[in-house]
Amino acid sequence: MTLATTAPTGPRNHATPHGPRIAVHRLGVHFGRTIALHGVSFEARRAERLAVIGPNGAGKSTLLACLATLLTPQDGRITHDGALDGRAHRHTLRGRIGLVAHDVLVYAELTARENLELYAGLHGRGPEAVDHWLDRVGLASAAHRAVGGFSRGMKQRLALARALVHEPDLVLLDEPLTGLDRQGQAFLWELLDELQAKQVLVLLVTHHLETSAEQFSRVLTIARGRLRHDAPATGTLADVYARATGGNR
């Protein structure tokens, strides 16, 4: 018996549309003696699309994990919709977060459809949502194959579908371009435009610095655990990075 069979009904209307969707205040994370993040503060509104760039080990993935409420920061706080503390309300907030992590977060033994059906079902979505997203990410023909045999690109597409199937209003993407061919990347940008139209806030961590900075409303540059630069930008991400770090490193 399925309890939830409602079809995906466009953008979900969450709380106040005004004010920032997330506000990060003096975020600090450390692992033992290593400072992963220090004093990171920024705000982001609905329908924004933020790029997060920085060298390896700068703290980008840690930031994403904190935003996804999967990691509890030792210092500072993250509020959602101006009032909800990510630490206290994580169980209600989690249903509104879509995450494409470094790993694909799916079961290799199951087919694409089964994986998607699992996550859709857990979030109270019916098979229509699954069909819709399988079609959308171009995996409809491969839906009945076990994920273990998928190429990196196909896994990445599935990860996207899995992250979006419950229509979150905060989408966190860790290196989503990895493994995607030119066509796949084009599809990703298309998808992100669509999300923007649905008032979804997107944070995208990438080291593909040849990407155009104009794709994003703002670019956050992180180096050695600190937010070095946060502004709208032109040129490529590589230019932004060079300007932000002053060519020091």
Binding site: H30, F31, G32, R33, I35, R224
Partner: protein, 246 residues
């Protein structure tokens, strides 16, 4: 900017405590060997009793304290509670080992065999195994938040299991001198005096060792925090310099 030399503060109370413990220890040894009467059937071997029983109690105390501190850590996330839990587990294992190594010597004399599978020895052995594994997990995990949580979980499971292990092991086998279960029956006044001194001395020893270990544990945590502070200061300085020299 000047930095004070980083030398740990002396803890005079701890020195005093250690000194008192040692005096008590010397007094106890004197009492055990010069004052306490030699027991009839066990002979001088009965004198093991004066360290065996208090060790057992100190061992359990260590584990129970470890569990309590672990609960506190899980509920409050206080790192100091975790330090106490770790220290208590180590001290508990130490006393537990003491029990397990003196126990067989007793058994050799009393029952003619080194190992009898006697219930309380078995219970102590099982507890020792659990907490040695706990310390192993600590060793592999280092001082990360995850390790702290995992170890807290293990300590709680281990101590919650004590009554069950005890019941099952006792029902399984049985024979142990029930000396201090009654109202001092079966023990002469002289023995009672020595035993009381022994309990006090072991309490002092327990507190001293625990305090030493907790102090070191806290120092380690403070050192971690200090390293973080220095690295943070380094980052801030870098930011300032970057800003002043674009």
């Amino acid at each position: 900017m000047t930095t004070p030399a980083l030398t740990p503060r002396r803890a005079d109370w701890l020195v005093a405590l250690a000194a008192i413990t040692m005096l008590a220890g010397a007094l106890l040894m004197g009492l055990i060997f010069f004052y306490a009467p030699t027991e009839a059937t066990m002979g001088v071997v009965q004198k093991i009793f004066y360290i065996h029983v208090p060790s057992a109690i100190a061992g359990y105390l260590g584990f129970i304290l470890c569990c309590a501190a672990s609960v506190w850590y899980l509920l409050r996330g206080d790192v100091r509670a975790d330090v106490v839990a770790r220290a208590a587990a180590e001290v508990g294992v130490l006393f537990c080992l003491g029990v397990l190594l003196t126990g067989p010597i007793w058994a050799r004399k009393a029952w003619g065999t080194w190992w009898t599978g006697e219930p309380r020895l078995l219970l102590t052995l099982v507890l020792l195994l659990i907490f040695v594994a706990y310390i192993l997990v600590r060793q592999f995990g280092g001082r990360s938040d995850l390790t702290r949580k995992i170890c807290a979980v293990l300590a709680i499971l281990g101590v919650a299991d004590i009554p069950l292990i005890r019941y099952s092991v006792e029902r399984w086998r049985g024979s142990h001198p029930q000396v201090i279960t009654g109202e001092g029956a079966g023990i002469t006044p002289e023995m009672q005096l020595v035993l009381t001194t022994s309990f006090i001395t072991f309490a002092l020893l327990f507190v001293t060792l625990l305090a030493l270990r907790v102090r070191i544990g806290l120092a380690e945590e403070q050192a971690d925090a200090a390293w973080r502070a220095v690295e943070t200061a380094d980052l801030r300085a870098e930011d300032l310099l970057d800003r002043s020299h674009p």
